[in-house]
């Protein structure tokens, strides 16, 4: 019998730390090729359809931006949490609440039109997401609950709440009983960036601006320093006079606000009304985005585009090859698995250990040395 043991490396390689996301990507491709081959599809053809065709035309790049925008917005917010060693897993729920609270204006006041509507909706979306994220923050700060569990469980609460709203009180009375709200009026729709060439909306710009602002926050501002200190050495953070509970609220509410902004941008931009499901798992995929981007806001922009491509590729192989679009989930899962695996092996090496207790007499071989 053998067992595996992880032994901490004395030094970690800077080179491989930087290369880790790329290695993970290559490993995902290799594992994906095996997957496609087992499904009876030529891997090369599948990859062409999966990774190249979805970005071969300008309108498709717009679709990529639509998918990448929420991933980047949420991922950037989550990176602040994870840097502070605070584990917000509930961005999906904060995304949904942002969508709901932001939509309350066009749904409840359909007559309200004008240039004020959209900014108010975006603000409401951010407030909604931040307030929803404040729940696990409060539970952690007050009762020391595990934020991973509470934030995750609140995702399901949010999903069911949205489902109830669109089937019940907010259902469009003229909607033939379809579970959806009224179509938003024109001033509640997030405009497209370049309507001539595709559907991409201002959400992508919000994502880029958020990435730059959070990058400045984390690398240039005292608050970002506070996040990094408390995340890496909490005791030194306490010595510095930084409050850990304040940080829990800050990190949760910042990431909640960005997830909420992503939610309302998605609803008012790409969808135009509330439906039972408004996210194909953006809040969870953004966790992968955050780690694939090395928790660096600028890296997250690149990682968000890669993950967006896995969504588009999933749809493409479904229509072209008849493979379930769940393959996108598989690719996302493999990416995260390989990123975390690479990171682990950069910090640790593996040692195989015999299970039987070593005998005192036989084990040391004095003569074998050198």
């Amino acid at each position: 019998m053998m067992r595996l043991e992880l032994v901490k490396r004395p030094q970690r390689s800077m080179l491989f730390s930087a290369l880790s996301p790329f290695i993970a990507f290559v490993l995902t491709i290799i594992a994906g090729a095996i997957l496609f081959a087992l499904l009876g599809v030529n891997p090369l053809k599948a990859f062409q359809i999966y990774f190249l065709e979805p970005i071969s035309q300008v309108w498709q790049l717009h679709e990529l931006a639509i998918k990448a925008a929420p991933l980047i917005l949420i991922g950037v917010g989550l990176s602040v949490c994870y840097r502070a060693n605070i584990w917000n897993i509930g961005a999906e729920g904060q995304f949904i609440l942002g969508g709901i609270v932001g939509s309350s204006i066009p749904v409840l006041f359909p007559q309200f039109e004008g240039p004020l509507v959209l900014p108010l909706m975006l603000l409401f979306g951010m407030v909604g997401g931040a307030a929803y994220a404040a729940i696990p923050a409060l539970l952690k700060a007050r009762f020391n609950t595990n934020e991973i569990l509470t934030s995750l469980m609140l995702v399901y609460v949010a999903q069911l709440f949205l489902d109830w709203l669109v089937r019940g009180p907010w259902r469009d009375p003229k909607g033939f009983n379809f579970p959806q709200t009224i179509q938003f009026n024109d001033s509640a729709i997030l405009p497209e960036l370049m309507p001539a060439s595709g559907r991409a909306n201002w959400g992508f710009v919000f994502a880029l601006v958020a990435a730059v602002l959070v990058w400045i926050l984390m690398s240039r501002m005292l608050k970002g320093f506070e996040v990094r200190v408390l995340g890496s050495s909490p005791r030194a953070g306490r010595f510095a006079g930084f409050g850990i509970n304040r940080m829990v609220f800050f990190a949760f509410m910042l990431s909640g606000a960005l997830a909420g902004l992503a939610g309302i941008s998605e609803v008012s931009g790409a969808i135009g009304q509330l439906q039972p499901v408004i996210s194909p798992g953006y809040g969870f995929a953004a966790i992968i985005v955050a780690f694939l981007g090395r928790l660096n806001p600028l890296g997250i922009v690149a990682a968000g585009l890669v993950l967006a491509l896995t969504y588009l590729g999933g749809e493409a192989v479904q229509s072209a090859l008849g493979i379930s679009d769940k393959v996108a989930r598989v690719f996302q899962g493999m990416l995260l698995f390989f990123v975390l695996g690479c990171d682990t092996l950069i910090h640790y090496r593996i040692r195989l250990i015999g299970f039987a207790a070593p005998k005192l007499e036989s084990a040391p071989k004095l003569e074998e040395a050198r």
Binding site: P10, Q11, R220, M221, L222, K223, F225, R228, V229, S232, S233, R235, A236, G237, R238, F239, A240, G241, A357, P358, L360, A363, P364, L366, E367, E368, A369, R370
Partner: protein, 521 residues
Amino acid sequence: MSANQDDANLLEVRGLTKTFGTLTACDHIDLNVAKGEIHALLGENGAGKSTLVKMLFGTLEPNSGEIFWNDQAVTITNPGFAKKLGIGMVFQHFSLFEALTAAENIALSLDDGSPISTIAAKARALSYSYGLPLDPQSLVGDLSVGERQRIEIIRCLLQTPQLIILDEPTSVLTPQEADKLFETLERLRSEGKSILYISHRLEEVKRICDRATVLRHGKVVGHCNPRKETAASLARMMVGNDVQAVVRAPVQGIETAQPLLEIRALSRRPATPFSIPLRNINLTVRAGEVIGIAGVAGNGQGEFFESVSGEVPQQDAASVRIRGKDAGGLSITGRRLMGAAFVPEERLGHGAAPRMKLSENLLLSRHATDGKVFVGAGGMVKSDAIYAAAQRIIKAMDVRKSALDPEAAALSGGNLQKFIVGRELDRRPSVMVVNQPTWGVDAGAAAHIRQTLIELARSGSAVLVISQDLDELFEISDAIAVMHNGELSKPLPIAEATFEKIGLLMGGAEPGHAEHALETS
């Protein structure tokens, strides 16, 4: 190199070299340990002692060089192999589980599956035979630091090693406990076991060691017989030049000087089952004086520091007063803004964030007090100003480092400590509270730090030093108080204090302030 006499070499090291990047931590080290000798390994911090010992114990791999064990070449790949060879190690920082008993802790490290009752019986027999009585059934959390060290030593002896490596073993003991340890070491030597003894306390080395190997900057600078040397000549070999003696000018009229730090009836309940409550502590530190707090580790010093620094604020605002104003309810930032500065015991992870640059670690304790200089409009950090200030401190304190602005973890302990002390001195604080100012710091750096603390006091600040190093406290303090089991004795003026008096108080003899009955809990 061969041993000087006919004594057989147990361990011989030839040309052992270890490099980390561009730094050569050990540079062609030669070392012989004969059977039945106590061999001292002397050197400043950063001289390469720990690196050398880690290679001998198999936790680091040498780049080149040879190790001979009983005249056979060996490659020590891991601690398990070192143990099988017969090398035992007692680390400076214990690795014991507080919630387990002594016997359970020992069983964990033996890894041979014998039942705990057998191990306990063996441990008990061994401990009594070596004059280190130990109850194997006692919980580690209930034991004093000296007793915990006994567990480590017994655990090491149970593996019947031929060579025992002890890393700064007396740094956590009272003078009386240290005497006991020396008896045990002499007994082990008489049984033919060899001991590699790492210490910076030169008097100890002179007293018990047969030979010494001195390291400086990763190289062996000499082998000697410490009994034939003086403490000064040993220090000179270690440092490379004369260590400047610390000068402490007497203070006049301190009784009338303004009290800058006052602690009034400070009490605190234990925060965890294994921490010490503070019981009605009273102390005044006046402008111009250095007060020392002695005590064996784990008698409430850490809790006391947390309470005075404001990392844990008090309910009673008057229990800590800084410059005549109540500060008990304030956070550490609030107390810093009143002019106080703090240096905690742990350098890495408490006083400094290990993975952050020195300049960032400067910001750590001074983001509020120097907010105007270091933080600009909208909370933007002025990294140029911080970098310049960090370089100023590095220069003033002679911090030696491998890069312009390295991570804190890349510095040796002594150099990081110089930076952390310098970071606070640079503010000219009116109250300075330091916990273990020179713990694990080399002689040259320690003298420098001590001198700066005295000078800070003489320039009109109040300095409070918590230390386990009695030599240090006698060198710098104007009065010494002793902390035992969460109580603080009255300060003894330095003219009246002796090692015996302080040592007895450290061991729990009646504290000087017994007339203050316990007011809480």
